[in-house]
Symmetry: C2
Subunit: 304 residues, 2 copies
């Protein structure tokens, strides 16, 4: 179950779209390289990547091009969860064959009020159909969007049935009581917890977690990775507080368009601001406000 190459902090990498609306693979590769040089791993095709606004086929083609272009699959965790078993299996198998360290897997998110039996059956079918002992699944718990919270009972069943495959979780519940309960029950068995929001990073590390996969890693990778590596240090609370300032500065803006606007701003490349529907880009006024907020806290990005 142990994969030693996986970084503790990964960026759910924002997806650059060209004027035709397609993913600009070279720009994305360059961004991944910048993230790597700032100590972050690569969680392409997450919520921040607008993953579900991109077809499964386009995603897998892009992933293969990134790896062919030099992205190390051993530090890469693509999102491969879809509503259907078939599409989940297609993307997951492709990722495993490409040598990815793991996959981040949403539950099927169309139906609401689904049962643990139904969710278990979904993940079990995926695992059986992929049928590859290298598969490492990180469950993606994000109830504010999926409206599905993965119960401790479901996790227990999955980990018991597939101890070598269910490797951990990204928890974006925003509910620390839940995160803590998962860590307490499953951490001792090697289950790796990634906070879905870096404001929980220090608490997650102290409770035995592995790291975080958070939108802010897109713009502040180095400091977030540093805290994950130095959470034992005496100034760890101060480091966490500094990270929290950045989130506080941006909290009033919509997350994904804002991450893209920040990168567009500091890279002086307005194309980065482009999103796919149903998201919309920040207005010019919002972009200015965002820049002012970051200036107030002396935040900037270099090397893009």
């Amino acid at each position: 179950m142990q994969v030693t190459t996986l970084p503790a902090v990964l960026a759910p990498v924002i997806s650059p779209f060209n004027a035709q609306g397609h993913i600009d693979v070279q720009k994305l590769l360059k961004q991944c390289q910048w993230l790597r040089s700032n100590d972050a791993g690569i969680a392409i095709f997450g919520t921040n990547s607008e993953s579900n606004s991109i077809s499964s086929i386009e995603k897998m083609e892009v992933m293969e091009k990134l790896i062919a272009g030099g992205l190390d699959p051993k530090v890469t965790m693509p999102g491969t969860g879809a509503c259907s078993v078939a599409e989940t299996v297609f993307m997951t198998s492709t990722a495993v064959k490409a040598g990815c360290a793991g996959v981040l897997m949403l539950p099927p998110f169309y139906y609401k009020d689904v049962s643990d039996d139904g969710l278990f059956a979904h993940f079990a079918e995926v695992i059986e159909q992929v049928g590859d002992s290298r598969l490492q699944i990180y469950l993606y718990n994000i109830p504010p969007i999926t409206q599905i919270s993965m119960s401790l009972g479901l996790l227990e069943r999955l980990i018991t049935a597939y101890p070598n495959t269910i490797a951990g979780m990204k928890d974006t519940s925003g509910d620390w009581t839940y995160t803590e309960a998962v860590l307490k029950q499953f951490g001792p068995r090697g289950f790796r917890m990634f906070a879905g929001n870096e404001i929980f990073l220090l608490r997650t590390m102290r409770a035995g977690g592995y790291g975080c996969i958070s939108s802010m890693v897109n713009i502040d990778p180095c400091r977030i990775a540093y805290l994950a590596a130095h959470w034992h240090d005496t100034n760890a609370d101060q480091l966490q507080a500094e990270l929290d300032l950045v989130r506080a500065a941006l909290i009033k803006f919509p997350t994904v368009p804002t991450m893209k606007a920040v990168i567009a701003h500091f890279s002086k490349d307005p194309e980065w601001a482009r999103v796919r529907p149903p998201l919309v880009s920040l207005t010019v006024e919002q972009q200015k406000q965002m820049a002012r907020e970051l200036e107030k806290i002396h935040f900037s990005i270099s090397g893009l």
Copy 2:
């Protein structure tokens, strides 16, 4: 904008899965023929069809086989909405080229709290990319599942921008005030309202609506189609009350597995009861209860 062949009542046809979990095309074709002989149109790949648990490619292959097998596309309205523009365009284009009377289109349903601007951009991109004057879109409003309610402002923008393409709506909001407001504002312009639940059928017809697309059409097509055709009759309220009895008898069971269990029961074909995850089939005890409830109201199905 007028398509004269479209039935007033369509079934969101349940999908039969074989032991390998694939759609049994011959069984589905037979079911469509039975529905047609009971005056219902064919809305394959809706929520009741477990559409989002089936890959886009499998859906389109099945649709083409059904049409090759004799299903009339002029009475067919497949669901073609997906989270991504690309997959929506793929399925919608395929349906238009196959000659389907219309398509039932979900909004992109992954992100929550999306704006009208973002939803408009999604539908506009789909329409522009399909680029076919034959396209007739019926918007699928189902906020209990998508958590997205299509505002009157959004509908106004879409109908104004694409008056020959935005043909109507299936409204499964369960909110009669909303349905009535949509009918009042857009009905006079030829916008066709399908109730998403047959309990609203008579009210919908009296307010100028077109018909309904409802789970119960899967098991009670003839009487629902009869009411839609005879809503002017003096006994229309009595007919509606009779339909309501069936829904009341089944209300405590989960919808999709129950529709399948009812067809399995009356066709004496237990394979019909199979569902895809994350849904789960009724338990044996639930199946017995369901049969007892239907017996109490003397409900049965023949000709399957």
